[in-house]
């Protein structure tokens, strides 16, 4: 891999596009399918230009038929292809959820190990563009609940660049979450960045006072918060879960065993969420190491309102993380 110093600046969107291009070039069995991935250039311009480069057999525009084309991706995977299926946003994925949960995740098991389903399903998640209550949600939790799926969350540019390539090497279905709000964000990655491993969580910032455990847009917000906290003399560690299923618990447990305190941050609604799972695993396995209860900062439990002032306060912001951590530490 590239020299650490040799980094390039790239948007999150461009990182995904480069990965798609690499994947399509590397393996003839790979094709991209989804609504408006071709002629429109992708709802969020992620796949712009790929149709011209790879042609309509490899960049397939589908009709509005989420259940149909996700199921078709599953079928093509069973039959030897390596489809990358784009579901425009997680909000629409409910229409395909039966296919993902009852087919993709169960075929291997129901067939006693005979039929594996190497499909990669990408979806945009999250808020940030005032798209209101049918276009703004973060439902990673639904998929993270399902045995048989591998669920990834690209919280950094490097992961946006590399997770897809890794997912295509898996024999089983992988769901990758990308984030609408991060598409235009610039980031630095090694010039030769490519595939990343997809088993482990990652420490994005080391610290000793408290562990911030998060994923997705929570990562950059938490890093921002950690910088603020550093000015106050608080040294926060930031754990990026990366793999939402199966969870790499050893990473965050180890972090908590070091810092003895944790805050879990996510944009999704609080009740029955991934943050709940993290908190309860810490409860089960690191209870006696805790100096304070684990707290969560989550999305407010309301369908997303349209106006910006309400959207902004619907999810935790860096400032909220700072305040919450100050409170947790004060309590000592």
């Amino acid at each position: 891999m590239a020299n650490e110093n040799n980094t390039i600046s790239i948007t999150y969107r461009e990182a995904i596009k480069q990965a798609l291009r690499d994947a399509l070039r590397a393996d003839e069995r790979v094709f991209l399918m989804g609504e408006d991935v071709g002629r429109y250039g992708g709802a969020f311009a992620v796949s712009k230009g790929l149709l011209e480069e790879f042609g309509p057999d490899r960049i397939m525009d589908t009709p509005l038929s989420e259940s149909g084309f996700v199921g078709a991706g599953i079928g093509a995977a069973i039959a030897g292809m390596r489809p990358v299926v784009e579901v425009m946003t997680v909000n629409f994925s409910l229409l395909a959820m039966d296919q993902i949960v009852n087919n993709a995740a169960t075929l291997l098991h129901m067939s006693g190990g005979q039929v594996n389903v190497p499909v990669v399903i990408r979806m945009n998640s999250g808020l940030g563009r005032q798209l209101a209550a049918q276009h703004s949600h973060s439902w990673e939790s639904f998929y993270a609940h399902i045995p048989g799926l591998k669920v990834l969350s690209a919280g950094t540019h490097e992961d946006a660049r590399g997770m897809l390539l890794a997912a295509l090497k898996e024999p089983d279905p992988v769901v990758i979450f990308e984030y609408t709000a991060m598409l235009n964000l610039e980031g630095k990655i090694p010039a030769g960045a490519g595939i990343v491993e997809i088993q482990k969580a990652a420490i994005r910032r080391e610290g000793k006072d408290i562990s911030i455990i998060t994923y997705g847009p929570g990562v950059y917000k938490s890093l921002e918060a950690a910088n603020e906290l550093a000015k106050l003399g608080i040294d926060a560690e930031v754990v990026d879960l990366r793999v939402l299923r199966p969870l790499d618990e050893s990473c965050f447990l180890q972090s908590v065993r070091k810092t003895h305190r944790a805050l879990v941050v996510e944009e999704a609604w609080r009740s029955v969420s991934i943050s709940a799972e993290i908190s309860s695993r810490i409860m089960e396995q690191a209870f006696y190491e805790l100096d304070a209860p684990v707290h969560r900062l989550c999305g407010v439990e309301v369908p997303m309102p349209y106006p910006k002032h309400l959207e902004d306060i619907s999810v935790p912001q860096a400032g909220d993380i700072v305040n919450m951590i100050k409170k947790i530490l004060q309590h000592d």
Partner: protein, 326 residues
């Protein structure tokens, strides 16, 4: 357009189409000024459909629409000021600002959204119509959707249920030839959406959606059929959107010449010309209409500007009904 038309009625429909057009042009402008945010889907070019269909509906009839619904809401008589305020996100908006452009609601006008999951409102429309049948009410329900939505499973289930249960439902498919950037030929193996009616034994017809009189006539005929038989009807209006899918669309998927060609069929120009030709209107009357429209739009903008933001403490309201709602 070959018909003649009652002068006042013609002016009335012209006014409505012009209002929709101007209202949306203003909205696009306000979008670039970031007064309006989120997704904004303009109806420009398709006005004849909303206005024509609405002529067949009574005040007690129900309407469900998509995220491209400003035209339907305005033609239904939802207050332009409250629509504009909604797009601003102000609490004076028709959905208290919670919904924005994609979620206009006005229960008083029996306007049930503003739905942004493509095809997701079709089953709901079946249920609204079913309720009217169970209540032995004469109410009809009208549901607008795009040709892209007709590829969703919900279309099939809803068509079948509506016909099977014989509910008074007018399906209005606005076939504007594109679903975002996906042309009709890439979304339907059989592009004549009206022929899909036959798979359910449902009566259907296609009409030139650029001709408000044709749409009106077809809608009235369809509505009469529905009211007399109790059975649903599929009306396909072939139309075209002159503008991008939303404000985020670079329109890579179609060429300018095609758009220009369609603009020659501008439904507003067509009706204006008809009214001019038959002498129901003169240039002065048109500019008078234009200024009435302009005033109405300005008033709507003024109302929106003067509106207020919902207090942040109210964030979690409307998740569950409040005592007065139940």
């Amino acid at each position: 357009m070959e018909n003649t038309i009652d002068r006042d009625h013609g002016k009335q429909m012209l006014y409505q189409m012009m209002l929709i057009r101007r209202f949306e042009e203003k909205a696009a402008e306000l979008y670039t000024q970031t007064k309006i945010r989120g997704f904004l889907h303009l109806y420009v070019g398709e006005e004849a459909v909303a206005v024509g269909v609405m002529q067949a509906l009574k005040t007690d009839d129900n309407i469900l629409s998509t995220y491209r619904e400003h035209g339907h809401a305005l033609a239904r008589g939802v207050d332009p000021g409250r629509i504009m305020a909604e797009m601003y996100g102000k609490q004076e908006g028709c959905s208290r600002g919670r919904g924005g452009s994609m979620h206009l609601f006005d229960a008083g006008k029996k306007f049930f959204g503003g739905n942004a999951i493509v095809g997701g409102h079709l089953p709901v429309a079946v249920g609204v119509a079913l309720a009217a049948k169970k209540q032995k009410a004469a109410r009809l329900t009208c549901c607008f959707f795009g040709e892209g939505a007709a590829a969703e499973g919900e279309f099939h289930e809803s068509m079948n249920l509506a016909m099977l249960w014989e509910v008074p439902l007018l399906f209005v498919c606005e076939n504007n030839l594109y679903a975002m950037g996906t042309a009709l030929r890439y979304s339907h193996s059989l592009p004549q959406i009206e022929l899909k009616g036959s798979a359910y034994g449902m009566e259907s017809m296609a009409v030139n959606g650029m001709d408000v009189l044709a749409v009106e006539e077809a809608a009235i005929r369809a509505a009469e059929k529905i009211r007399s038989t109790g059975k649903p009807f599929l009306l396909v209006c072939n139309t075209y959107r002159f503008r991008a899918h939303s404000m985020f669309d670079a329109e890579l998927y179609r060429n300018k010449a095609e758009v220009e060609e369609w603009k020659k069929q501008d439904p507003i120009t067509a009706l204006q010309n008809l009214l001019l030709e038959q002498g129901s209107l003169d240039a002065a009357a048109i500019s008078e209409l234009e200024s009435t429209v302009e005033t109405a739009v300005q008033k709507a903008v003024g109302f929106a500007e003067a509106g207020s933001w919902e207090p942040v403490e109210d964030l979690t309201r409307f998740v569950y009904s409040e005592p007065q709602n139940s």
